[in-house]
């Protein structure tokens, strides 16, 4: 195995790994500060913050020969015998000087900057900078300039790392951003008439190591040190991008991509990034209700558990639409619950919203046309309950509608939870087909023509309000944790099913998952604790065959 020596500490790297000094040093627990380098972008080696001393050790004599000058860590690949020195006086001085240089044209307006608290310029200056100010800086405010509908630029805070420019050229392929002017006068800018307006635009804000690029959606909303971070998965489409939900006091403030080499690498699309506003929408359903003469009567959850079961039992044959918004655990419990009420219950995949074709970008990122996160997971769960037909397909929404229209069922439990308050997923015409039923249960985030017809109208929980597992379009399963509590009065689906199944104590998604993994060859990989980046179900399936 190739060995790299980082500050005297020997570490081994993989034989065919191509690492640069920053990555190799990180393996040894040594952080080499850097601005312009990003693993997902091309190397420009221009910020010069990662300058280090490098050399090589002669394998026979063990003698170390150092390169006489400083080299950028990002641009220097490591191989067997590479020696990296990051803590020498020369390196420290170089870092201090780069920090000093960057601050010459920086407004240092941290008190009014959104980035403060998560700013690399702040952090690195604290760690590597010098306390004495030698530059003659006239205090000034950073000019603010709109670069697009979602992103704003604080021109003078920029340190010219050009990560954003490279992103729009290499990943989104739209090339809206450029560098204008020269030397210390240069600025990031857009071409007149061509604003930064693409479906991945928000990523440039994450890439910005300082407070130059601001997300208008988050600007001045919250100080970052108040934010708590929860590992979530995006429910916007079937890609299932890994997210960090940043929240405070049960309010989500922003979503950020979470690095996941198997799914989304470092990026998310804007649709996903801003796809949390529905959680705090005023029009959400927040109380369970049973149909009364004029609208719905509020029902206590404790009563609901028994009354709902009785209503469904009394109605007759039950059909259940298991929404692709549900987690694997919730779907499994719902199916189990349905079968405990009616052993012959008709189980079908719920409505799957789609908006045309998948959209791919040059950087390898794809936005899926299927706008639900867990179709594969629900299909696998339905398979466990013997609903799969001969060709492996499970019944879907249209099959359920056919059952209803043919009069084969008398009761239906429809789960949805689609995050679209403006346009309901179910139109009036479709909803009218359910008029014939004796008992209709609708569990959804928002009111809809269907919910208006319901016998039982139940509130659902949003993606950040639950924990569980989703399986994306590439059969990659990821667990996520609850970030915030649902609005007062709302029981998340899992809690309701758990209680209706008569289980004791608090809802335990982990325990349910173990049960599922034991009972399904398809989902066997879900056993145990999953890594943060998830598991590929196909690998397990391949091993099983």
């Amino acid at each position: 195995m190739p060995t790299v020596i980082v500050d005297g500490q020997e570490i081994e790297i993989g034989a065919d790994e191509r690492l640069n000094c920053i990555e190799a040093a990180r393996r040894a627990g040594v952080e080499i500060p850097h601005y312009c380098w990003h693993p997902g972008l091309s190397v420009v080696a221009s910020c010069r913050m990662c300058l280090i001393q490098a050399g090589s050790r002669n394998p026979e004599t063990g003698e170390v020969a150092m390169i006489p000058k400083l080299v950028p860590g990002c641009q220097t690949p490591v191989k067997d015998g590479t020696v990296i020195v990051t803590n020498s006086e020369a390196v420290k001085e170089s870092r201090a000087r780069v920090e000093e240089a960057l601050l010459i044209d920086h407004p240092i307006d941290c008190p009014i900057c959104d980035k403060a608290g998560e700013c690399l310029l702040q952090d690195y200056h604290f760690e590597h900078g010098q306390s004495e100010r030698r530059a003659d800086i006239q205090p000034f405010h950073s000019r603010r300039r709109d670069v697009g509908p979602t992103v704003t630029l604080f021109v003078d805070r920029c340190i010219m790392c050009t990560r954003c420019v490279r992103f729009t050229r290499e990943v989104s392929g739209t090339a809206e951003l450029m560098v204008s002017a020269r030397g210390a006068k240069e600025e990031i800018d857009t071409f007149p008439g061509f604003p930064l307006d693409n479906k991945l635009a928000g990523n440039v804000v994450d890439l910005c190591p300082v407070g130059a690029l601001g997300d208008k959606d988050f600007l001045y909303q919250q100080r970052v040190w108040f934010l708590k971070k929860s590992e979530n998965v995006c429910g916007g489409c079937s890609a299932g991008c890994s997210l960090v939900t940043e929240h405070n006091q049960d309010t989500v403030y922003r979503l950020k991509p979470r690095e996941n080499p198997h799914v989304n690498k470092w990026w998310i699309c804007d649709e996903g990034r801003y796809g949390w506003h529905h959680l705090h929408d005023e029009s959400r359903l927040v109380t369970p209700g049973r149909r009364a003469a004029d609208g719905f009567d509020d029902v206590e959850w404790a009563d609901l558990i028994t009354r709902l079961r009785d209503d469904l039992k009394a109605a007759g044959r039950l059909a259940v639409a298991v929404s692709p918004q549900l987690t694997v655990e919730e779907a499994w419990m719902l199916c189990a619950l349905a079968r405990s009420i009616d052993p012959e219950a008709f189980l079908a995949l719920g409505y799957v919203p789609t908006t045309g074709d998948d959209e791919s970008f040059p950087g390898g990122f794809t936005i899926r046309g299927e706008k639900a996160p867990n179709r594969r997971g629900v299909e696998a769960v339905l398979g466990m309950f013997g609903t799969a037909e001969t060709d492996g397909k499970v019944p879907g929404w249209t099959d359920l509608l056919a059952q209803v229209q043919a009069g084969k069922v008398q009761a239906a439990w429809i789960t949805a939870g689609h995050p679209t308050p403006e346009t309901s997923w179910c139109d009036e015409e479709t909803a009218a087909q359910f008029d014939s039923l004796d008992c209709l249960v609708v569990q959804d985030l928002f009111d809809s023509p269907l919910a208006a017809r319901a016998t039982w109208r139940l509130p659902a929980a949003g993606f950040a309000e639950r924990s569980g597992t989703w399986v994306n379009c590439g059969q990659h399963a990821q667990c996520f944790e609850q970030a915030i509590r649902p609005p007062a009065g709302v029981w998340p689906e899992g809690r309701l099913y758990w209680n209706m199944l008569g289980r004791q104590g608090l809802y335990d998604p982990h325990g349910v998952r173990q049960q599922i993994a034991e009972g399904s060859a398809t989902l066997a990989a879900l056993a145990g604790n999953l890594p943060a980046t998830g598991v590929d179900l196909r690998l397990q399936q391949l091993a099983a065959t």
């Binding site: 420009v44 010069r48 240089a101 010459i104 044209d105 030698r134 010219m160 560098v179 030397g183 240069e186």
Partner: protein, 454 residues
Amino acid sequence: MTNTESFEPVLLEAVGIENGGTLEQYRSRGGYAPLEKLLAEKQPADVVEMVKSSGLRGRGGAGFMTGVKWTFLPKDHPGPVYFCVNADESEPGTFNNRILMEDDPHQILEGTIISAFATRASTAYIYLRYEYPQSWNSLQAAIDEAYAAGYLGQNIRGSGFSLDIYLHRGAAAYICGEETGLIESLEGKRAWPRIKPPFPAIEGAFHKPTVVNNIETMACVAQIARRGVEWFRSIGIPADPNNPRDPGSYGPKLYCLSGHVEKPGCYEAPLGITARELIDRFGGGVWKGRRAKAVIPGGISMGVMTENELDTPLDFAGPGRVGCLGLGTAAVVVVDETVSIVDFLHNSCRFFAHESCGQCTPCREGTSWSLRMLERIRAGKGRLKDLDLLAEIGSTMGMMPGSTICGLADGAAWPIKNCIAKFRDEFEEYIKQTNPTGYMETDPVPALPIVTAH
């Protein structure tokens, strides 16, 4: 070494001849005959060997061995290989390429065709500085003539070798003269120098192997083909036998003499002429009978020599011995004793702050910071401490300490370093006189509200 007294101009032989730049006139002087002979008799490898053995060093500034540079091209590359001629002559004080392009463009074309043949390139680009419309006209006219006469295009003079030359006009930036900046600009991008490796010989223009050579180098190649290696090696300063890393300084060189001299101009002399001889014999001495205070040996980025250092030979190794960066473009600028060295350095810093491409932090901020500091010193708010800071900026930015991608920062740093080191007394005197109450202060300095330069 040839006697500089008896040296007859070779590269500049067309200067002063009426219609000296036409194809007919060039051929009457023996031009293009060596090319035809060489295309008929020699292999590319022979030509590379010829240039290598001549000891020709690139005339663009760095003085790298031209023949050795050509050998860095990958062997048996399926092609295409691109050949670029750097005519983005923008080092302050330099104008030798302009003279060559305006007065004897065919000499350059012949050198380019030979060099392209040696490097197996079938496409050559001449990257021309925007501010040279006259050169554009004469080069384009010469290219048209050469096409008509069959020296360019398909199957040149029946030799089987084909070459197209494109004249590419830049958009006026100093950084486009850096070889990878030139390539980026040629590709239609912002001229940000590339990180190396890969070097252009491996991956240059349009991701293909590329050689970039200076205009004067091309003229030298043409003359080597015409007059032979022995002739070339008989001129200049031979390699130092005690220093194996010194490849010597052979051949004639165009010296651009300007500034405070009686007769400024572009003069051809063997490499190794001293600055004093150049000024006195060619330039007619410092003007108005004054003394020289400082002399730039080869473009401002090479730093400055003092009056005492004028006996330095202007070969590739000479200026380095007195603390200058090198010979550079051999553009000698004379500054007389009436000029304030503070103003001189301010002017230099203004140039580099304006021309820094802005890619690397140390250069972008260092050039601008040094300019601001000199602005402040000239506004009567200087402190003695500033000189240490200036010297520190000068010694830490650039390719040599490893803090930048290209050599622009070294060029910006050398005048600062040299001026502070060689004229420190004058700086201190200036600061004490203009800021008599505050020159000893050491607290952080409030900036001037407006930086007027730039």
